[in-house]
């Protein structure tokens, strides 16, 4: 049977180059090994192993009670996960595509998020799923709905950009006592690889990281656009513009200190995100800088984001819709001139 081979592919213990997708799988596998309170719940996650194979092999290993295939009922998935958590379980709920998370919007924003504040009921659940565009998934399989939830007190919202962070943050999310939404940019699933440690580790929720040091301006980004920003920064360096690149990693709670520290050094800030412009995290960062570091700003906060439209399907349209390296370069050069 193929089980043994599959298991070795997700065995911990070997420090190897792993994809983003493999890192997610490893995190779930290891957390389920570590703690029998961890269960998976979602559509097609068991026998099929998930639409993106993130839970492949987990049913074989952990059985029907811990890897629960559900009907197409996102509200029921989130609601049941919440109910399970009340008895001390730590469910990881999968949205097959994160676009469908809005089908469970009420359950998440009104039930799950408010429980601790209102009646002292923690709900240690993780809701995770593949998000983002650039893969021609069209308007209903490419969404970046993170900001609906960043606006909801009581949730934590994570959106990592590297396999190392994905694994460490997912583990931290499972162990957190709060409901955590975990966005996985599907463009990154198989496109990037990274060596990650063989031993157990977590990455703290709510901490941004400086991916590249620089002194002329700060580029703040996350998820797939973090890589676009790094590519742009490398090119800017050739022109003599040293951009510092910050990877937010967690959007709620937002690591204001890392942002402010960088801004004090560079005095200029460009935010790059794949989410649409209006109501995106860039606006929030602009407000924070105005409130807390107005005197340090030597130029306007600039934004490179997706257009304020649904995600279009045709490659030509989607390319126009999404931010890219050229758009980042253009904005960075403009900002550097201030």
């Amino acid at each position: 049977m193929a089980t043994a081979a599959k298991e070795t592919s997700i065995q911990p213990g070997a420090a190897t180059q792993v994809t983003f997708l493999e890192a997610i799988k490893q995190a779930m596998y290891e957390e389920m090994e570590r703690d029998p309170a961890v269960v998976l719940i979602g559509e097609d996650i068991g026998v099929y192993g998930g639409a993106f194979k993130t839970s492949e092999g987990l049913l074989e290993r952990f059985g029907w009670e811990r890897v629960i295939d559900t009907p197409i009922s996102e509200s029921a998935i989130v609601g049941a996960a919440c109910g399970m958590s009340y008895l001390g379980l730590r469910p990881i709920a999968e949205m097959q595509f994160i676009d469908f998370i809005v089908c469970a919007f009420n359950q998440i924003t009104n039930f799950v998020a408010k429980g601790h504040y209102l009646w002292n009921a923690p709900a240690p659940i993780v809701i995770r799923g593949p998000s983002g565009g650039g893969v021609h998934g069209g308007p209903f399989h490419s969404a970046n709905p993170e900001m609906y939830f960043v606006h909801t007190p009581g949730l934590k919202v994570i959106y990592p950009s590297t396999p190392y962070d994905a694994k460490g943050l997912l583990k931290a999310a499972v162990r957190d006592n709060n409901p955590v939404l975990f966005f996985e940019h599907k463009f990154l699933y198989r496109r990037i690889k990274e060596e990650i440690p063989s031993e157990d580790y977590t990455v703290p929720i709510g901490k941004a990281v400086v991916r590249r040091e620089g002194r002329h301006l700060t580029i703040i980004s996350y998820a797939a656009m973090m890589h676009t920003s790094l590519e742009a920064a490398a090119e800017l360096a050739k022109e003599g513009i040293e951009a510092e690149v910050i990877d937010l990693r967690t959007l709620l709670p937002l690591d204001e200190e890392t942002i402010l520290t960088s801004l004090k050094k560079t005095n200029k800030c460009l935010v790059v995100h794949e989410d649409t412009k209006t109501g995106g995290i860039a606006g929030e960062i602009a407000a924070i800088l105005c409130e807390r570091a107005f005197g340090d700003l030597d130029g306007p906060l600039m934004r490179v984001t997706a257009l304020d439209t649904p995600v279009p399907y045709a490659p030509t349209l989607e390319e126009f819709f999404l931010p890219n390296k050229e758009k980042v370069l253009h904005a960075a050069r403009t900002l550097a001139k201030y």
Partner: protein, 420 residues
């Protein structure tokens, strides 16, 4: 199956209905004195529903009330002062003033899940509670209520459908009080009998007179025990009537006079008092004594509630997040061997065993997950895969466990047999 109640049980039901009504009467007074901060929702005439159904639960069982189920909370052990303080937004209330009405819970001791105002959301949540209880081996039953109006929500369907496919030990009381705010049930649901909702999910149901507390209790008890024994979720329609408006502000003039008169003549407490008196379980003196006992209790409870302070303003900023173990130490209470749900014992062949749908191999890339047709070949594949896994030093019992755990997805059998 229905057993005669003990004298104590008869009297408990009576006491809790009286207490339920007295608590709500007290709150009407508090409301008129402007001591209740928000709205006040009455269950006048529906006491038998809350009391009779909640009384069918054991202490370890879980319930989640709706707004007209104060009686269920009292039966589960919530002191009246908590109900008063919730409505008065006091700092000593279970939510410390952050929410009102019956919107509070207790995960640790009483096993109560708080409702929210969005109807139906509790159904998948309590399904999850039931599933977690089964997973942990606790043999609990989860119960919640939904109104005739709330049964039209999407999440009612999602939740009950999921509970049904999971055969979760869950009892849903469909409290048909004929009115969803101002809209009559006929405009809400195109069914004569709301219990027929159950047919859509292939689950058992009952329809019972909601103003007969003994009928509600015995039916709920039977449903609870069937759910506990693995028969899956059960829907119990209780037919009753909302005697007052949606809330205190609403005179409910849209309700036909004859309808109101019919139900007012069938007051559940008056009916039950008559029945108990006929059975010689109650007499005028006992009735008076119980009334005095409740008055005395509620006087003290109300006094406590009124003396509780309002929450300090800055408390509004606190408690959005759990800060960790210092805030909540989360630990499931296992009542079965953990080894049953951890490898190697938990390991199974990832193959559907749904009769009539064939069985497809899992995700090893070769074949589609579910094949229509060619059923035998794939059943054979599955069997040989299981054998292979056995011979590859798999521990004994994996096959049996796999079969046992695969039961709930066996649609044909699921409808007839009790599950795991």
């Amino acid at each position: 199956m229905k057993k005669e109640l003990t004298k104590q049980q008869y009297l408990d039901l009576y006491y809790y209905m009286r207490l339920n009504r007295a608590v709500e009467d007290t709150m009407v007074k508090l409301f008129r004195q402007n001591k209740i901060v928000g709205g006040l929702y009455s269950s006048l005439g529906q006491e038998a529903v809350s009391v009779g159904s909640a009384y069918a639960l054991e202490k370890k069982d879980w319930l989640a009330p709706m707004i007209r189920n104060i009686g269920a909370l009292l039966v589960k052990g919530v002191p009246p002062r908590d109900v008063f303080m919730q409505h008065m937004a006091k700092y000593d209330s279970p939510t410390k003033g952050k929410d009102g009405t019956s919107h509070f819970g207790d995960l640790e001791n009483l096993h109560i899940v708080s409702p929210i105002s969005m109807l139906g959301d509790l159904i998948p949540v309590m399904t999850g509670v039931a599933m977690a209880g089964r997973y942990l081996g606790q043999k609990i039953v989860a119960m919640t209520w939904i109104g005739d109006g709330g049964s039209s929500t999407g999440v009612f369907h999602e939740g009950l459908n999921f509970a049904a496919v999971q055969k979760a030990p869950f009892v849903l009381i469909l409290e048909n009080n004929q009115w969803a705010y101002s809209t009559p049930v006929k405009r809400q649901v195109p069914l004569e009998k709301l219990a027929d909702r159950a047919k859509a999910y292939g689950i058992s149901s009952y329809s019972v007179d909601g103003n007969d507390v003994v009928a509600v209790y015995t039916t709920a008890k039977e449903a609870v025990e069937r759910a506990r024994n693995g028969e899956g979720p059960i829907l119990v329609e209780v037919r009753t009537f909302r005697r007052l408006g949606h809330a205190q502000h609403d005179p409910a003039e849209y309700v036909p006079k004859e309808m109101r008169a019919y139900w007012e003549a069938r007051d559940p407490i008056a009916l039950y008092e008559k029945s108990l008196t006929g059975k010689k379980l109650l007499d005028a003196k006992a009735i008076k004594d119980i009334g005095e006992k409740i008055d005395k209790l509620l006087y003290a409870e109300r006094d406590f509630a009124e003396n509780s302070p309002m929450p300090p303003a800055e408390f509004a900023a606190h408690g959005v997040y759990c800060s960790g173990d210092d805030c909540h130490k989360i630990a499931p209470k296992w009542e079965r061997p953990i080894a049953e749900v951890t490898p190697p014992k938990s390991s199974v062949a990832a193959v559907w065993t749904v009769k009539g749908f064939g069985s497809g191999k899992a995700s090893d890339g070769g074949s589609a997950p579910i094949h229509f047709g060619d059923t035998e070949k794939h059943a054979k594949d599955a069997a040989s895969a299981e054998e292979a896994s056995q011979s590859a030093n798999k521990p004994r019992g994996v096959k049996a466990l796999a079969k046992k755990l695969a039961k709930p997805v066996a649609a044909g059998r699921a409808a007839r047999k009790a599950g795991r």
